[in-house]
Structures are given as C-alpha cells and as structure tokens.
C-alpha cells in the first residue's frame, strides 16, 4: 500500500526525483541532510545551538569511525559485520591493561583489533570464504572473546585514568576530543582514498577483481589491508566508547553498530557491489542518521517511529542513487 502510493508520487513528480538523482550520489544525500537541518532549525527548539552541534558530532563519532572503515571494505565489494564485537574487544583489552599504563593499553587494544581485522581479510582473500560468513563468525566469536576477561561483567575505571577518559570526555577549546579524532580520521581517509595508490587499488579490486589482479594489483594484500583498517577504526571507536563511560561493557559495547555503519555508507552513495566509494558521502550518511535521532529526541517523537523513518530514508536514499540502467 505504502509502495503503491510511492509509485504514484514518483510518476507525478518524476521530474523532481530524476533531477535529485541527477545531482549525483553525494549531492543528493547532501541536499537531504541540509533539508533536514533547515527543517530542524525552523521546527525544533534549541536545535540551532552551537552546543547541540558539538553534541551531534560527539554522539556520531563511534558510528562515523566504524563507517569510515566500512566504506573501504564495501568499496572492495566486501562487508564487515564484526565491527561491533571488535569494538567490545578493544574496550575490554584496554580495560584489563590500563594498570600497565595508558599507552601500552591503547596500543595492545588497537593491535589486537587490527589483527582480528587482518584475520578477517586473510580468511576472505586467501581462503576465499564469503565476507558475510567470515565476519558473521567473528561477530559471534569476538563478542565471546571480549566477555571472557571479565566474565561479561562491566569493568569500571571511572576517575582512575583521567588521561584515558580524556579521549572520550575531554575538550580542546569548544571541540570534544572524540569529534577531533573523528575529523582527523575522516580527513586522513579522504586523503588515502583520493590521493594514494592504495585508495585506487581498493576501488579497482571492488570494480573488477580479476582485471585488477591481471593489471598487477596485489589483491590479497589490498583486501587484508581494508579489513585490518576496519578493525583498527572499530578498535578506536571501542576505546572512545569505553573512555566516555569510564568503563568497559563487553556485553553491550557496539551492539548493532554494523547496521548503522552500513546504512551510513549506503546512504552516502557507496555501492554495496563495490567499485565505488565516497568517504564524504559516508560522513553525510552518518550525520543524517544522527540528526534524525537527535531531532526526534528533542521533538519528543517516539523512538519507535524514528526507526521506521530511518528505514524509509535508507530505502529512498538508495533508490535515488541507484545506478541508471537503460
């Protein structure tokens, strides 16, 4: 029923839709984001407030980091479902090692999550198992691994390691530290994707794996690298989450974040089939999801409805950006 209505509108307003689509993937999503922000500025009280702006950036940081790594993975035509569990592994590794010092704890956590990502990549590229199965297995196994050190219980360290907690609660001037980390990572990712040969290889592998192998691209190495990168960024997101709460919650950290991240990537215009990637689009996609959540909260609209609307936005965004086939 909903669909029939949609089809009707598409016909009557076909021109408007195709024009929106013609703006290209990223611009379509950007236009939608701006529209959302303007609507909120008009209708939501206190939305147009600099603190709220920083707040949105702060809340979106973990999803954005994970979605950035996911963009690389999806660009190769893969998918990484394990990111939420990998976040939990990072949180739990850091929590049990904090007494050895903050730097060692952070390094151990990030090394472990990068290794888990590299393991994903190895199984996918060398053992040739589908990404969805490998990362599903690591999603299941990784959650257990994260829960083992504390038997699934919360490890609290609030107030004991201020320098670590600074990662999640500190400010540089008015800017939250985690928003700063996020901006740096996004900037680096844009640079890597656009200006390095690695970025080209990633898109080439996703576009046509055999052709890029014949052209001399190290396909295995590229694939292992993108999953390792996804693991590294998920680990960073996990550290930020646990630093923000002053605790590691291995049973809950990162639950379901893979879906938010995939949604952000897809809304942003990166095709799930690979061969096309836009970090800028992912940033817009993640921001869009967060603006919806925040504004619905501020409007007092039920959480349940915000889920339905998010789903509709995902479908519409993908529909508008679908590749044009004659």
């Amino acid at each position: 029923m909903q669909n029939a209505g949609q089809a009707g509108r598409t016909q009557s307003a076909g021109g408007a839709w195709s024009r929106l689509g013609a703006l290209g993937p990223t611009y379509g999503a950007l236009a939608a984001l701006l529209l959302l922000i303007i609507a909120n500025a008009v209708f939501t009280r206190n939305f147009w407030d600099i603190n709220n702006f920083w707040n949105i950036l702060l809340q979106v940081a973990p999803t954005m980091l994970v979605a950035t790594g996911m963009t690389f993975v999806i660009a190769t035509g893969g998918i990484d479902l394990s990111v939420g569990s990998v976040m939990a592994i990072a949180a739990s590794m850091a929590a049990i090692n904090l007494e050895r010092g903050i730097l060692p704890a952070v390094c151990i956590a990030l090394l472990v999550t990068t290794a888990v990502g590299a393991l994903n990549g190895t199984l996918i590229s060398i053992f040739r198992i589908q990404p969805i199965i490998v990362t599903l297995a690591v999603l299941i196994a990784g959650r257990g691994l994260a829960q083992i050190p504390s038997e699934g219980r919360l490890i609290e360290f609030k107030g004991h390691y201020p320098a670590f907690e600074y990662l999640g609660t500190g400010y540089v001037g008015p800017i939250p530290v985690q928003a700063l980390v996020m901006l740096l990572v996004v900037a680096a990712a844009i640079f890597v994707m656009r200006a390095t040969s690695f970025g080209r290889y990633v898109v080439a592998v996703g576009g046509n794996e055999n052709a890029s192998r014949l052209a001399g691209v190290k396909v295995h190495r590229t694939k292992i690298a993108v999953y390792a990168l996804s693991g590294l960024l998920a680990g960073l997101a996990g550290l930020i989450e646990s630093a923000r709460g002053g605790a590691s919650d291995p049973s809950n950290v990162g639950q379901g974040i893979e879906l938010d991240a995939i949604a952000a990537v897809v809304i942003g215009g990166t095709a799930l089939t690979g061969g096309r990637a836009t970090i800028g689009g992912t940033v817009i996609g993640a921001l869009m999801m967060q603006v919806i959540t925040t504004s619905f909260n501020m409007q007092g609209i039920q959480f349940a409805w915000s889920l339905v609307i998010k789903a509709a936005i995902i479908i519409v965004a993908v529909y508008v950006q679908r590749p044009k086939v004659a």
């Binding site: 599903l136 691994l145 879906l259 349940a304």
Partner: protein, 339 residues
C-alpha cells in the same frame, strides 16, 4: 598443501581421482549430516544414553533440544528459500518480534484469529520486502536491513516499548508451545511438518523449481520467461510468514510479547543454512540440509551448555564462531577441489 594434494591427484589414477571427487562432493553435500552424527555419538559417549541413565541420548533431552530450536528452525526454513534465490533476509528477527507482540495484544481472542492476524501481518511485511526488491530493484541486503529497523520500530510501537504480559492465555495459544500431538510436543510437529511441506514445495512444485532457477542465473530465468518478480515476492512472503509463526510460538512459550525479541535470530538462521551446505550465492542447497544445520548447531549448543563448568559461557560464543568458520572452510576447500 593444496598444491601437494593436487600433485598427488594428478599422479593418481583416474579411478582414484573420481572416487576422491565423489567422496568430496558427498562430504560437501552431506558434511553437516556426518558432523551431526559424529557430534551425537560423542555426546552419547560423554553424557550417556537412556540405556545407562545418561543425560544426552534420552527422549526428554532430544525433545527439549529440538523444541528449543523450533523457532530458529522455522526461520531458517524461510531463509533457505530466500538464500536459494540468491537473496538474504535480515528482517526475520524483527518480524518475529512483530508477530509476537501482535499475538500478545490479541491474546484474548479466538486463537485462530490471533494466529491468522499475526502471521498475516508479518507475511505482508515480508511481501513488502519482496515488492521493493523485485519492483524497485534494490539489493535484498539493504531492503531487509531497512525492514529490520522499521519492523523493530513497529513492534516497539505496538507494545508501547515494553513487554506485553499475556494475562489469561487461551487454551489454543498455550497449546502452541505446551500441547502434545501423540508423543510429540506441538512445536516439534510444526517444525517437522513445515520442513516436509518445504521439501515438497521445493522439489515437486513449479514454484520450487523456479526458486532454484532464479538463484542459479536470474538473467537466464528471466529470459526463459519465468515470472521472477512473483518468485521473489513468494520467498520473502514465506520468510515473513514463518518468522511471524516463530514469534507466536515464542510468545506462547514466554507468556508475553517481547518487542525486543529475536535480535540476532537472522544470524543464527543464516549460520544454520550455511552450515547445512546451502551456498549463499543461490541455486544450490535444500531444506533438508538446513534442518541438519539447525540440529547440528542446536546439539552443539546443548553440549557446550553441559560443559558449562569448565568451558565458561563466554567461550561458548567463541567456539560457536570458530565451529561455523571451520565447517565453511572445509566445505569450501572440498567444493573448490571438485571444480
């Protein structure tokens, strides 16, 4: 190592190669069944049977294991149809919750009405999945991901974001989980019946053959004049219906409708389908192997629970993940060698 194996293969006689290929393809098709038998033998040896007053191979324990897995089993059956067409359905966990909360809301009414309305609602949502996939031509992964989010929202909305207690459950509703048909609990009978019907449909109806054709090569199926859209609608509607039925069974079991129920069921179902030997690329596999996959994962979980005193419960997750990987790697190696 595979190179060495290949070298031996080349050196070996043609007869040896054929025999080995046959064995490999048998393991690939029936590997899960072999594993299930081995795991059951191990468990019977370790925990004992009804003969020696043991705890594993007893009627009660086996019935428990199957009944507890009946909900994942029903969902995995629908998932098998979807995956055979080359698609995927991530929304089943949320649809299960929708079915459960609708049933709980209507619990006072005639049970047939409750069942028809709740399963009907999730069937329509499944149909919507199929419609968007077939007509708007968006990838199944994205469409069902969106439905997973939206249906969770619907379930929360129907339940006002808290569990719905079923105060006076009607006899029919209670029968769904607690009832017996002959010596067997109702959920097990439903599971077996559903798989039997699923097998019939897949192997002996036009629809079933079309499912395989679509998964094998969509373009060819289209050119041959198959109504691809109708097959797609059919499999996603079926998946929605079975998820809704599983939701009603779960509501009967829990005595309440839980709007957050079923999270992660899609992964369990996909794991069962894959472990059974159905390929995610579509076109190859069947419902029998999925039932074996469900039982294998169920028995394995039962064993891990029994070993709870020395395998901590968190290692269970790790072992389940590793087991899933191991089965898939072995199947993959064997089918790669076959080619």
């Amino acid at each position: 190592m595979s190179q060495a194996a290949a070298a031996i293969d080349d050196a070996g006689s043609t007869r040896g190669r054929v025999a080995r290929a046959k064995f490999a393809s048998f393991i690939q098709r029936q590997g899960a069944l072999v594993a299930l038998i081995l795991v059951c033998l191990f468990a019977s040896w370790r925990y004992g049977t009804f003969l020696d007053n043991g705890s594993f191979l007893t009627g009660q324990n086996l019935l428990n294991v199957v009944a507890q897995n009946s909900m994942v089993g029903l969902i995995a059956l629908g998932m098998t149809f979807v995956i055979l067409t080359g698609g995927i359905d991530l929304s089943v966990g949320s649809l299960l919750a929708v079915g459960g909360v609708i049933a709980a809301t209507l619990a006072g009414n005639n049970f047939i009405v409750v069942l028809v309305v709740s399963v009907g609602a999730t069937t329509l949502l499944g149909l919507l999945n199929g419609l968007v996939i077939a007509k708007v031509r968006i990838q199944p992964f994205i469409v069902t991901l969106a439905m997973m989010i939206a249906a969770r929202g619907l379930a929360l909305r129907v339940a006002h974001e808290k569990p719905i207690e079923i105060r006076n459950m009607t006899g029919g509703f209670r029968w769904l989980w607690q009832g017996m048909i002959g010596p067997l609990p109702v959920p097990i009978v439903m599971l077996v019946a559903a798989y039997f019907i699923g097998w019939l449909v897949l192997n002996h109806t036009r629809f079933g053959r079309h499912v395989y054709a679509l998964g094998d090569n969509e373009e060819a199926a289209r050119l041959m004049g198959l109504n691809v859209g109708r097959v797609t609608l059919g499999v996603y509607a079926l998946s929605g219906a079975l998820a809704g039925l599983a939701g009603v069974i779960l509501a009967s079991r829990l005595g309440s409708g839980q709007p957050v129920a079923g999270a992660g069921f899609e992964l369990d179902a996909i794991a069962a389908v894959v472990v059974g030997g159905t390929l995610l690329t579509g076109g190859q596999g069947g419902v029998g192997s999925t039932l074996v996959g469900v039982l294998l994962l169920g028995v394995l979980f039962n064993i891990l629970n029994n070993e709870g005193d020395w395998i901590g419960s968190y290692w269970q997750g790790v072992l389940r993940g590793i087991f899933l990987l191991a089965v898939v790697i072995i199947q993959n190696r064997l089918s790669a060698r076959k080619r």
